[in-house]
Symmetry: C2
């Protein structure tokens, strides 16, 4: 049976950009599950599945609707135990939560800083109005003023990835010798940046960039099916 | 059979202070293993087990000598599979490495800043000379000048724990509903501070402080057997 994935898009339906939706996309591919996607714009999210969620991703698997990328991964692990594991056991399930919080609090703020104007430019007219209003209210500044800080913050951002970079001296993936959902959590954040903005967050020689490239190669190069922003 | 743990002490043998030794102590207790300890001062480390290691912890389990706290945990998990797990599976084993790198790069530098002079004061005369020389060479400054920065860095340190703090909104331990070695990794860093310095790193109301208190209660209050520095 095909799983329906509601994923966030802008004007171009072929360029899903949400970090959280990418986490779900990679988790579904990791489980080898067939999916169909429902491209969803910001303003369409409240209507999906009868108002099930304020955010995407949302999946429908038969009668079951699951919201939130982490809960989707937990659901898939439980519903499809015979497919490749997303967590590698209960310890991995618990520690993936730490990694999710680390990614959300370390990588997401800087990607927002770097890509906010580009993310705005990806939306259609109506969603661009929503995006600007909601984000300028959240940040208390114009989008352009938020992004003006990205050059000044770049070095600190790269330094903030040092735990991941250092870990990659021990093993090729956060999941060890092969990727787990924890990899897709961090991948999602950097894929969001890759698709939204040509701004270079990482030097090519960075071990984190090399890990990210390995993640782009996974599942038949799934992450590369959307070209990097140019 | 009793496992021998070489652990770092200063003048007072009853106050082992090393973060890495505390990781091993908690891991051994988690596995319910009997231990005897060999209190070891900095300058005695190169001589233990015929020069097996430049650092402690080192354990001897029968014929087997294992060095490095993470490798000790991996060894115990493999050697004592019927005892409570330290990792909760292969995923947890891999992700604990990320948490170890995060702790080492986030918590350790600030604890060093906060406690360096107090750590010096804990050593006997000969080891105090070694400690001052080696640390002042490493930092390129006098110990007292390093510690002078601790008030200025305190707020940023507390903020840097936000991934852990945020995760504790989901679950009581890094390991989930109960502690795993990943908890002991971070515990070790804060226990090092607790034993070395009266300087207050965390507010009592902080969720991280409350998690740390839960860790102090584990294994019969093992962590509390050494009183906090006063």
């Amino acid at each position: 049976m095909t799983i329906l994935l509601y994923e966030l898009v802008g004007r171009d339906e072929s360029r899903p950009f949400s970090p959280h939706c990418w986490k779900a996309t990679m988790a579904l591919a990791h489980k080898g599950l067939d999916i169909s996607t429902a491209p969803t714009r910001f303003l369409e999210v409240p209507a999906i599945e009868g108002g099930a969620s304020k955010t995407v991703p949302v999946i429908r698997d038969g009668d079951k609707v699951v919201i939130d990328s982490f809960d989707i991964a937990l659901y898939l692990e439980e519903a499809y135990p015979d497919r490749p594991t997303l967590f590698g056991g209960d310890g991995g399930k618990a520690m993936a939560r730490f990694i999710e919080r680390w990614s959300q609090l370390t990588i997401h703020p800087y990607v927002t800083t770097a890509a906010l104007v580009d993310l705005h430019a990806m939306q259609d007219e109506e969603n661009a109005v929503y995006f600007r209003q909601s984000r300028e209210q959240r940040f208390g500044r114009q989008l352009e003023d938020v992004v003006a800080a990205r050059d000044a913050g770049l070095a600190a951002f790269r330094t903030s990835l040092e735990p991941l970079r250092s870990m990659l001296g021990y093993q090729p993936f956060i999941g060890g010798t092969s990727p787990l959902f924890a990899d897709y959590i961090v991948f999602g954040a950097l894929q969001w940046a890759r698709i939204a903005t040509p701004y270079q967050l990482l030097e090519d020689s960075d071990a984190v960039a090399q890990w990210f490239a390995r993640c782009l190669d996974l599942h038949g190069g799934l992450g590369r099916k959307v070209a990097a922003a140019a």
